[in-house]
């Protein structure tokens, strides 16, 4: 995801005002940041606006672009701030409850055959993921899809690392639990792998 190519692009943008390089950076990050912002804003138009502001500011401050050590994380944090600012302006709500987010998790981009499972089981896994609490879903996506680290997610969302660990563990258990519960491996002691933490969370 983050390659040394990205470093080169940043230098081109900072030193040469290279808009083509900036476009490449934009294309690298846009989709994931858009989904992230939309989880907070719940509106496509608002997300587009926030993303636009974030990248415009990035361009305005392009001189310091090469100095940003972790651009991925930086952009996520920027989007989060921008989204929250937007919400605050619109709704006068200063803080947001992470469980209020509308985190989308689309279809798993795999065929059931690739996993040696039935279509029904794949659907159950999908549902299990969708049924995760919003905070858990967000954290899961940030780590699995967006390449953030536990520490970064914790910092960005004002959580403890322990919370992030727990949420990730929870997400994995839902997915894995489905696989195991489908009697794929009848000899395993499956009862040990149900997860009652969902109950504990509430």
């Amino acid at each position: 995801m983050i390659t040394s190519q990205l470093d080169d692009l940043c230098i081109l943008v900072a030193e040469n005002d290279d808009a083509l390089a900036f476009e490449k950076i934009f294309n690298l990050f846009y989709r994931r940041l858009f989904l992230f912002a939309k989880a907070f804003l719940k509106s496509r138009e608002s997300a587009e606006e926030v993303l636009s502001d974030v990248f415009l500011k990035l361009w305005q401050n392009r001189d310091s672009l090469p100095a940003i050590k972790n651009l991925n994380y930086y952009l996520f944090v920027s989007c989060k701030h921008a989204a929250l600012d937007y919400i605050e302006k619109k709704n006068k709500v200063p803080t947001i409850n992470l469980d209020d987010l509308a985190v989308e998790f689309g279809e798993i981009a795999l065929n059931p055959e690739e996993l040696f499972i039935s279509t029904e089981l794949l659907m159950r896994i999908q549902q299990a993921i969708s049924a995760l609490p919003p905070k858990c879903k967000l954290i899961f996506r940030l780590i699995k899809e967006d390449g953030l680290k536990y520490r970064e997610v914790a910092e960005m969302l004002n959580l403890s690392v322990k919370t992030v660990e727990t949420q990730m563990s929870l997400a994995l258990s839902k997915i894995g639990g489905e696989l195991l519960a489908a009697n794929v491996f009848p000899h395993a002691n499956l009862s040990r792998f149900g997860d009652d933490r969902l109950e504990q969370e509430k």
């Binding site: 030193e15 934009f26 305005q60 795999l110 727990t166 491996f185 997860d195």
Partner: protein
Amino acid sequence: MEQNRFWDLLAKKKSGEATPEEQLELKQYFSQNPALTAATNQIDILWNSSFKPDEEISNQQTALAWSNIMQKISNPAPAGSDTVITEKKSLRPIRMFYRIIAAASILFILISTGWFLILNQKKEQQVKQNVVSTKNGSKSKIELPDGTKVWLNAGSKLIYDDDYGKESRNLELEGEAFFDVVHNKNMPLVIKTRHMNVKVLGTAFNVRAYPGDVTSEAALIRGAIEVSFPDRPMEKLLLKPQQKITIVNRDAILNNPLVATRSKDAPVDQESIIPVISVSSLTYNKKDSAVIETSWLNNKLIFRKKELGELSKDIERWFNVTVYFEDSSLIGKRFTGTFHNENIQEALVALQLTYPFHFRFEKNNNTVFIYR
């Protein structure tokens, strides 16, 4: 292992957050519960695939979003409007132009012999010209009214008007020079040489345009420069860092006795085919990775596979001597080497090692005669 611990460890492993101890613990657990391995493989596959977003973020949408941003970047909104964008700089069309970047680097500018007028033809009154020149064997440094610093190599001339820096920054160059350009986005620095014009958009470049030389060159170290040609004003070339442009001065070839002429039957070697205009990369000296094009700044004359005819001109300027060829067959021989602190005789002896020739150095009039 308690159930939560297993998922905890697995999650950390997939996320790359597991410590070596944790990975070992997980491994041991798998070996005790082989039934888990297959399911974990499935999780691996799942983990490595991505999720399609519910709402397709199509390429179209991304492209549309980008074009919106491009517009805003190119046309900053006026102050007071809803989206206040305080642009420090505005983006000009990507196609050609870059901004001038504040430079701390030194530019070498070679001044080509031009009895070129710097004067703006529209102006009625005569504007006084300032001429700075260096003789063979010497270099000099000057500072222009706008603070731009110029280092002139041997045998070079720089001409600028008295009103340089007021509405425009035009220079004429004959020879070789390096510049440290002061940033001014409203007034680009333009260097005219006989065969090409260089518009400074960047910070560090070398221009080499000795009159009578077969080629003229502009070598870009950092930033951007735009090269155009007096006889073809519509054609412009934008150089990227580490690129250099070489132009063949056609009339120099025709009138130059020091250019080797080959008989029809002689085999044509690749080096002798010089395209009229070529863009190539900067050349580096293998031994010390110095950029050859600007090595003269460090008092080094580096040449690679250079014909002796062309090299003799460098030698003349470098050592302040005059070189005569008593045998024209030596003109086309190619030499590679570096002159650093040698005097003229030491340098000639060094050249002899590559290809045997004889020379006679007359000290009283600084003349070198080269013969077989």
